[in-house]
Amino acid sequence: MTTQTTPSVRQARPQPPNVIRVGLSRGALELRQFFRERDAVVFTFSLPVVMLVLLAGIFNDTIPDTGVKASQVFAASMIAAGIMSTTFVSLGTGIAQDREDGTLKRLRGTPTPMTSYFIGKVLMVLVVSFAEVIVLLALGKVMFDLQMPSDAGKWLTFGWVFLLGVIGCALLGIAISSVPRSAKSASAVIMLPFIGLQFVSGVLFNPIKELPSPMVEIGSFFPLKWMAQGFRSVFLPDSMTFQEVAGSWEPGRTALVLVAWCVGGLVLCLLTFRWKNSRQG
């Protein structure tokens, strides 16, 4: 035990540290925690990779008259599912966990602003999603002939679909984290919409236009369908638009729906976020 002398007369406290700065340091901490937690890495990071390898490995016949292989369609669409996994699933389960293990409680008992907590989460999710996309792209290129576009415009599309998709799905993930009653039930509660949406959004089943129309309508309501379509528009030739519901890539509509989800998701979070479990008083 060391003896340390602090003046017993307390001088006025300086200003608390800047919200952004605290957020940045939380982001670094969140990232460290994410990659150290093996379950999280396996669950949210590796799952889409494994699904891609399996699906594209099984369905690799060429689609008639296009020269495009089914595996290429899967590889492009799976990028969207990968992002949903590292945002929606990761935050949905991660925040439920934070609520249960006392992370959120501790934060509320310190001068850490809650905004900084969310900045930290968003930063974590951006980095992890970026890494996920890199892995999926590399795998798609090496194993499944995914064509990297040479056109800068396509990469621009890639950029905004990625960014809007990450933000929209992250906000949805924060919102759904309040639904499960405990961390234990969180992964089940969150996997259900995740898997379900993949079937109706043109990820696990393509071409999407062959789905029954109620399913297409459900899928079209959520961001995953538009992200998958956006990524297909980047990595597949325009001759593939005949497989889309509208017969075109619909970039304008894609942007509109994704932006709407960013705004709506934020409102949903603000309305529904809970700091504690019902058991915590």
Binding site: P17, Q33, T103, G109, G281
Partner: protein, 294 residues
């Protein structure tokens, strides 16, 4: 500076219609070490968490460092330190990472390395929190409670799981913080801890205040009858007296200087405590049991 660090009047909290905290009044002075004592389920954690701003109250007025904890903001939270009864967060981070991180969230903080040493985790600084033993994990909570150099420190059963040496070290740390002017609100089940640390203690049972006072005089301890015992002709003698000083003086005088096996015992804090909560609670909680034994 407001007059008291903690001011509570008529505090009440119910869960599902059952009162858990029932009209509690408390005042804790600046610089005081105040202990809250009571059996499991007495409402200690509930009370403390209301004061920390974690839980809402159903009735009563509360001022902690002059502010209502339910409405207080960031500045207020940088002036308090909290060690909750249960925490299992940050298990993937090392001790040093988590202490250093939280230090940077406060406007003014203690040196992380010093604090890690102070709680006795110096040699475990690089270990992940989730891999620490129960008592070591608890010390991380204590480190995080004091890292922001709080004016008021809440400790909810801080030494649960501490080995005897760690507990004594912890007591030294608390005394040092207190000497530096920190106000401390402590809950515990260890009566020796109360005697070692607290300036004042409140005993609560079923959410109600049973008694409040200095540990030395609690429940009339200091003035209660003492039992003097000694050996005379090889036999154990005992005498209850309200004036042991005089009685012992007489004994010494009679025996001509040496009284074999002399001891004077006053009721221990434990005796007083058990009596207090025994009479308060069990009369109406175990009527069936009483009938059977009667």
């Amino acid at each position: 500076m407001t007059e008291t660090a903690v001011h509570v009047r008529g505090l009440s909290k119910r869960y599902g219609g059952t009162p858990v905290v029932d009209g509690l009044d408390l005042d804790i002075a600046h610089g005081e070490v105040f202990a809250l004592l009571g059996p499991n389920g007495a409402g200690k954690t509930t009370t403390v968490e209301i004061l920390e701003g974690y839980r809402d109250r159903d009735a009563g007025t509360v001022a902690v460092l002059g502010e209502d904890p339910g409405k207080a903001g960031r500045d207020w939270r940088s002036r308090i330190g909290i060690v909750s009864q249960t925490a299992t967060d940050a298990s993937e981070l090392t001790v040093r990472e988590v202490v250093t991180h939280f230090a940077a969230n406060y406007p003014r903080h203690r040196d992380p390395e010093t604090v890690i040493e102070q709680v006795g985790l110096g040699e475990h600084a690089k270990k992940r929190v989730g891999r620490l033993s129960g008592g070591q994990r608890r010390r991380v909570d204590v480190a995080l409670g004091i890292i922001g150099d709080p004016e008021l420190l809440f400790l909810d059963e801080p030494t649960t799981g501490f080995d005897p040496e760690a507990r004594v070290k912890f007591w030294q740390l608390i005394r040092q913080l207190s000497a530096e002017g920190t106000t401390i609100l402590l809950t515990t089940h260890y009566l020796d801890e109360v005697e070692a640390l607290a300036n004042r203690v409140a005993v609560i049972a079923r959410g109600r205040l049973k008694t409040i006072g200095e540990p030395e005089t609690l429940g009339g301890r200091a003035t209660a009858g003492a039992v003097v015992s000694w050996r005379e002709d090889g036999r154990l003698m005992e005498r209850e007296t309200t004036n042991p000083d005089q009685f012992v003086a007489e004994l010494v005088g009679k025996s001509g200087g040496h009284v074999p096996g002399l001891s004077v015992q006053r009721p221990s804090l434990e005796d007083v405590y058990l009596q207090l909560i025994g009479t308060s609670e069990d009369l109406d909680t175990t009527p069936e049991l009483r009938k059977e034994t009667a």
